[in-house]
Amino acid sequence: MSTVNRAAGGTADYLDQRTGIGLAVKNFARKIFPDHWSFLLGEIALYSFVILIITGFFLTMFFVPSMGLITYEGPLASMDGVEMSEAFASTLVLSFEVTGGLLMRQIHHWAALLFMASIVTHMMRVFFTGAFRKPREINWLVGFVLMILGLAAGFTGYSLPDDVLSGNGLRITDGVVKSIPVVGSYMSYFVFGGEFPGEHIIPRLFTLHILVIPGLILALVGLHLFLVVLHKHTHFPGPGRTERNVVGFPLFPVYVAKAGGFFFVVFSVLALMGGTMTINPVWNYGPYDPSPVSAGAQPDWYMLFLEGALRLMPGAGTEWVVAGYTLSLNVLVPAVIVPGLLFTVLALYPFVEAWASGDKREHHVLDRPRNAPTRTASGVAILTAFGVLLAAGTNDLIATHFGVSINDITRVLRVLLFVAPVVAFITTKRLCLGLQRKDRELVLHGHETGRIVRFADGEYIEVHRPLDEYERWLRVHHQPVRPLELLPAEDERGVRRKGYRRDAFRARVSRFFFEDRVEPVTPTELAAAQSHGAHDALSAPEHGDSTLVEAVANIKPEHGGMPTGEVTRGPATPRH
């Protein structure tokens, strides 16, 4: 035993005897993590957050969160001798005089955009694969709150340099707050410490940005990951993957290397972007002054949908005066009600779906999106509406870059905001059902081989090759959710049943979710198909009857549960 090993062993033993950490390390090292690229999206968010903390720590060393006025003197000709706030001046010093400062600022800002982009992508993965189902609803909510906190972190950080563009954003925020009936103007005075912009907002945002919000994010990331460990990771359907196991590789050494390596990949991509691509060039916008608003004034991408909603909302006739008080629907609807609706739907979706399905089982095998047509279609509809709002927020750039009239774009998008999600919903649902039918077709009749055979009596047929058992399992394993049955309004003695109206509503929602469906092939159906299509098998003896019998045995029994033939592949840990 070498000295190094002895030292390491000694240290480990010392720690283990005093903390009992050995057991935790052993359990943790054997934790199984399934392989799929989409399971790494959340890691991008986690790593962006780590990079945000590292670069943000550097930035706080130089940034001065003050709205006190000073005259900047520095290397930037277009700002030399200009009066500005200390916040803006320190951002310029940080960018042009601190070694590596601009790189750090740019990595920080790119990381913020990437943080939100990866959170949203991760959320889409979880949504479309149904990973939010029991027992993970709470973790969905934790993730949702993390997304909101990410928005808050982005918004507070974006406003700190006190440049014209972020000041415009704060002005919009002020308007939005003021549009809230009754309490709006009080809240605005509370937020800004007086009339906008005042002298307090930058220090206040600074405290939120570097202390409160990251602290909350850190705590919730801890909870989020703890719940992932507690629930164990979900996996995609496949051979040997059940509701009671996880198929993948152990954390140590495989995933420590993979995930650890991925951190450096994320860092290098962000360093590449920060080093070569300008982001938020505040020196172009200049120090904040409430009067100028430049063309092309937009927020960062995660706030762009709000800007889009504001740009789409008609101004004329939407400002009502009620009893001497102005009700600004032209701001209230796009900036408060639209995001309120979007976020409520996102937060509550898992609970609505669970309520509509009445499904109380635990789910650890992910859904293929096609097997949950209404969910997939709802997700695509939400994304479509979001996309229309993004386009609306970009309407001036679309106008200049594609040579169209901005007025036409706005008119078209106003219609599309209502029409496009409906079209997207119907199309996606049909696509999902079509794909499911294709799956049925494949399971029942096998692959087309292109081999045409002529029988003695002159009949031509194309030989179909039956699916192998793994291909078949993927297409038949899922248990379709059927709409809830509505019990009659009156019991057997003709007495009106309590709660009937609530049940009727629930049944209606349930029908909306689960009425249109394509059931997976049952073993009986498969056997029937194989017997009347027997001449297919006759002409393809290499996939003859013996394969067929095996395959049928691997199909789940009609009413759910496990395949009768246990297929086990790769290392697997039991769920407990």
Binding site: H36, K258, V265, V269, T400
Partner: protein
């Protein structure tokens, strides 16, 4: 003096005073009014050649004597600066009717442009083409130019002149490739949807400051590629394309194996 005092109640005295006041105002205006009607050094041959070019290329819309027609303005008194701007940027002669005349490769060379300008300038006095000194970015103050640009220009042309949209298909063009002379002439003459910034509004020195600020932008962005200087939407596109694109590609690579 006594003679004037004796006649101050004469019934024609108010009329005389009015005439004197008008004359004084006119004289003051002539002295103080912003006048760029400049030193026309153009020869008569230039004017003649310009007239011939005008008749052949411009008269269809602007009229044979540049008096204007339905939809095409009169060019009498627009000055050489306006002609130089419109012709040297290719906006005139106009190719197609549209929300506004687009810049395109110029149809006339330098000499022909000068001849056209000389001809139009000869029809009535107007702003002259600025001198090299007036548009020299080296003599301007970029910081003052930035302040002026932010309050006067950025709401249409964007923070550093990358351009922006106006109503019904009109637009404020990107200024990245505009020469200092073109920028000066545009401010002076207000082409298309642009307002006129005359010398009382933005003084010649301030115009030069704005030119100096725009010239600063040509050095490129200190932060790397500028991504078109169109603001956060450009950044949004690139974080999804480059950032998420590269990372999802890496994730596929890392996750590729058993699934």
């Amino acid at each position: 003096m006594k003679a004037i005092a004796a006649r101050r109640h004469h019934r024609l005295a108010p009329l005389l005073l009015l005439a004197l006041a008008l004359a004084l105002t006119g004289a003051l205006y002539a002295v103080l009014a912003p006048s760029a009607s400049g030193t026309t050094t153009a020869s008569d041959e230039d004017v003649e050649a310009g007239k011939a070019l005008f008749q052949a290329n411009c008269a269809t819309c602007h009229g044979t004597d540049a008096e204007g027609r339905e939809g095409a303005p009169s060019l009498i008194g627009v000055g050489a600066a306006s002609v130089d701007f419109q012709v040297s940027t290719g906006r005139m002669p106009m190719q197609v009717n549209g929300p506004q005349a687009a810049a395109k490769p110029p149809q006339f060379d330098r000499e022909q442009t000068d001849q056209l300008a000389a001809y139009v300038a000869s029809l009535g006095s107007g702003p002259a083409i600025p001198t090299a000194d007036q548009v020299d970015p080296a003599q301007g103050d970029a910081a003052n130019g930035m302040a002026l640009f932010r309050t006067n220009c950025a709401m249409c042309h964007g923070a550093i002149g990358a351009g922006g949209a106006l109503s019904e298909g009109k637009y404020a063009p990107n200024l990245a490739d505009s020469t200092p002379t073109e920028i000066y002439e545009a401010m002076l003459t207000g082409p298309q949807s642009m307002p006129v910034f005359n010398d009382a509004n933005i003084s010649p020195e301030e115009k030069r400051d704005i030119i100096a600020f725009l010239d600063e932008q040509r050095a490129g962005s200190p932060g790397g590629t500028s991504l078109g200087s169109i603001g956060p939407v450009g950044e949004a596109v690139w974080v999804w394309v480059v950032g998420m694109g590269l990372l999802i590609a890496s994730a596929v690579w890392i996750g590729a194996k058993s699934s």
